[in-house]
């Protein structure tokens, strides 16, 4: 059991009645919790938005904003809807209990509150919250914030939906000989730094990293959350990746290590995005022609000796400050017709 579940949690008491407020606060403090109190629902909401609390003990009958209104507001607030609420009320009638639970209250205790029962309910609520927090933390660590938010809002369901967006593939050129020439610890360190830089570039432009494998990664722009112009975001990401690798290389060569180079392929259009895998282990990804094309364009960078290649659909919406060079139609494996390929030219520093 965590510290919060056994005592020492930060609790908020909302009750307009001073005697009730003092008594409940006293009981909770005797259990080892730290307690703050609010005189009405509006104050309670303000405090919840300002500070972090592990649990709210909420009276129903209050002036300015009653307990039901507080529950409604909490349910609509993404940042607060996971704060567990235990309603403490001397309102009679089962309908009040039902309404509270329907509005998201974890539990309902009748006043005067039985202290033993109060302790048990608070312990259970805090333990549930701890598990939920742990789950959220895991999602945050293994998924991007966008996927985590999508999961939180829409829940988890396997299966995809059609979306329009852009896909970016990148990898490190000549990675295998590099790996063979240095101790594995150095390779891990190189990859960690490399991925930190690349992830920053991708999330900075609203993309999400869908997969990483060895030195390669796949990123999606425009799903699960829509972006105004996914193609431009993807291309700006690629340009930033190239720039970051140049900076990284300057540091590496100064330390006597070989420079690295990357290749990036981007394609845009319709794809199917969603969670694939099993109900026990799944990942957010995209599939479809657009994805295959992006992967092929990335491979093609080696053939033509360019760092960033894009397809025609990606090029269409690009603003004028991005320089693009047409390479003409290229036969791509898996495509019946040759595909128009464009190279994005990184701005030269003077």
């Amino acid at each position: 059991m965590s510290e919060a579940a056994t005592g020492g949690a930060r609790l908020l008491v909302a009750d307009d009645n001073k005697v009730n407020r003092l008594l409940l606060t006293r009981n909770l403090e005797l259990m080892g919790h730290r307690v703050a109190s609010a005189e009405n629902g509006r104050m309670a909401l303000e405090m919840l938005r300002r500070e972090s609390f592990d649990l709210l003990l909420l009276d129903l009958e209050m002036p300015e904003m009653n307990g039901f209104e507080v529950l409604e507001q909490l349910g609509r607030d993404l940042a607060l809807r996971d704060v567990p609420v235990i309603v403490t009320s001397s309102l009679e009638g089962l309908d009040n209990v039902v309404r509270s639970i329907e509005l998201g209250a974890e539990d309902y205790l009748t006043k005067p509150v039985n202290v033993v029962l109060l302790k048990a309910r608070i312990g259970a609520s805090l333990e549930k919250k701890r598990l939920r927090d742990q789950q959220k933390e895991l999602v945050r660590r293994f998924a991007t914030p966008e996927v985590a938010q999508d999961l939180q809002q829409s829940g988890f369901a396997l299966g995809g939906k059609r979306v329009r967006g852009s896909v970016l593939f990148s990898d490190i050129r000549d990675f295998t000989p590099l790996v063979e020439s240095q101790p594995p610890e150095e390779t891990i360190e190189l990859l960690n730094t490399y991925y930190t830089l690349m992830f920053d570039a991708i999330s900075g432009h609203g993309g999400i990293v869908s997969q990483i494998a060895g030195d390669g990664l796949m990123a999606i722009f425009g799903a699960p959350l829509p972006l105004p112009d996914p193609a431009t975001s993807a291309v700006r990401t690629a340009l930033e990746m190239v720039e970051l690798v140049e900076l990284f290389d300057a540091e590496r060569t100064a330390g006597g290590k070989p420079a690295i180079r990357i290749g990036v392929g981007i394609a845009s259009g319709e794809m199917v995005a969603g969670y694939t895998g099993t109900s026990r282990r799944a990942t957010y990804t995209c599939i479809g022609d657009t994805v295959n094309l992006a992967a092929r364009l990335e491979t093609h960078t080696k053939t033509v000796g360019r760092m960033i290649l894009i397809d025609g659909a990606t090029r269409t919406t690009l603003p004028g400050d991005i320089t693009v060079e047409a390479l003409g139609p290229v036969a791509i494996r898996g495509k019946a017709e040759p595909v128009d390929v464009f190279a994005v030219v990184p701005a030269r520093k003077t």
């Binding site: 307009d16 009645n17 001073k18 005697v19 009730n20 003092l22 008594l23 006293r26 009981n27 005797l30 009958e61 002036p63 001397s90 309102l91 009679e92 006043k111 005067p112 202290v115």
Partner: protein
Amino acid sequence: MSAEAIDLATFRELEATTGVEFVRELVATFKAEAPRMLADLRQSLVDGDAERFRRTAHSLKSNSNTFGATALGAMARKLELEGLDSVRASGSAPLDALAFEYTRVAQALTELHRE
């Protein structure tokens, strides 16, 4: 000794779980708040403010039960559930009776702490 206004078992239980000193302070708070609640009930009767009447009766009920003021709690509960209209029909008698019972409760609480 008019301690029958207070259910001793409830009161002692409160002292045992929260501490005698704390209960002394809580009683002081109740004595400071209750007269205002009684005045609020009369005022909402005059104003015809049924919502305020119900909420105040509800508060008084809740606090009475906390200290074991069972009779006072039951009277306040009746007012809460029956509402302003039923009280208005019987004039100020129910509120006078409530005020009288509160006086007994306040006195009993004082005596309990003198022991």
